[in-house]
Symmetry: C2
Subunit: 110 residues, 2 copies
Amino acid sequence: MSDTTQIQAGRDVATLINVFTVAPERQAQLVALLTRATEETMRHRPGFISANIHASADGERVVNYAQWESEEHFRAMLADPGAREHMTEAAALAESFDPRMFSVESVHHV
Amino acid sequence: MSDTTQIQAGRDVATLINVFTVAPERQAQLVALLTRATEETMRHRPGFISANIHASADGERVVNYAQWESEEHFRAMLADPGAREHMTEAAALAESFDPRMFSVESVHHV
């Protein structure tokens, strides 16, 4: 199930949710950039588990829901020159972005 | 795997990501409220697939990553009096909230 991301409470994973605010006419370009950056760079870094790129129906947001083995792995990736280049490009396309680390508090199903 | 949420690209699911901005001293209370509201009300509504409540490490955000069979199911739930009561309570605890519908554009793994 390498194409399926799993969310579970109590799992030892660091979740990064990065909310990008973007002009609707640039949303598709930002999605393409994040997809390419993840394939080329982020997913090859130690501790990477998953990235899940979402586009809002109203065109105004892009959300990357990403999982890392630890926050330290995520921070080490941030220092990678290739990753920094991609993030500078993403920052230039977006109006703003708000990356934060989260824990999964609860998971609910039917 | 009823305690595991799955994210897949191309799956016919409506994703709601609701980002709550909250004072850190009220974050735990908001998480508890959303957890209770989901168990008591939302998960019994038609079309509910999952809700996943996240707390940011800095205390300033709560994110509900929820999946519904369609946007119409989600909108029908919003009209439910029990759901509205819970959401009024959540709105009173949060400084702001920003619910939007998303599609999963891409999923990446190692």
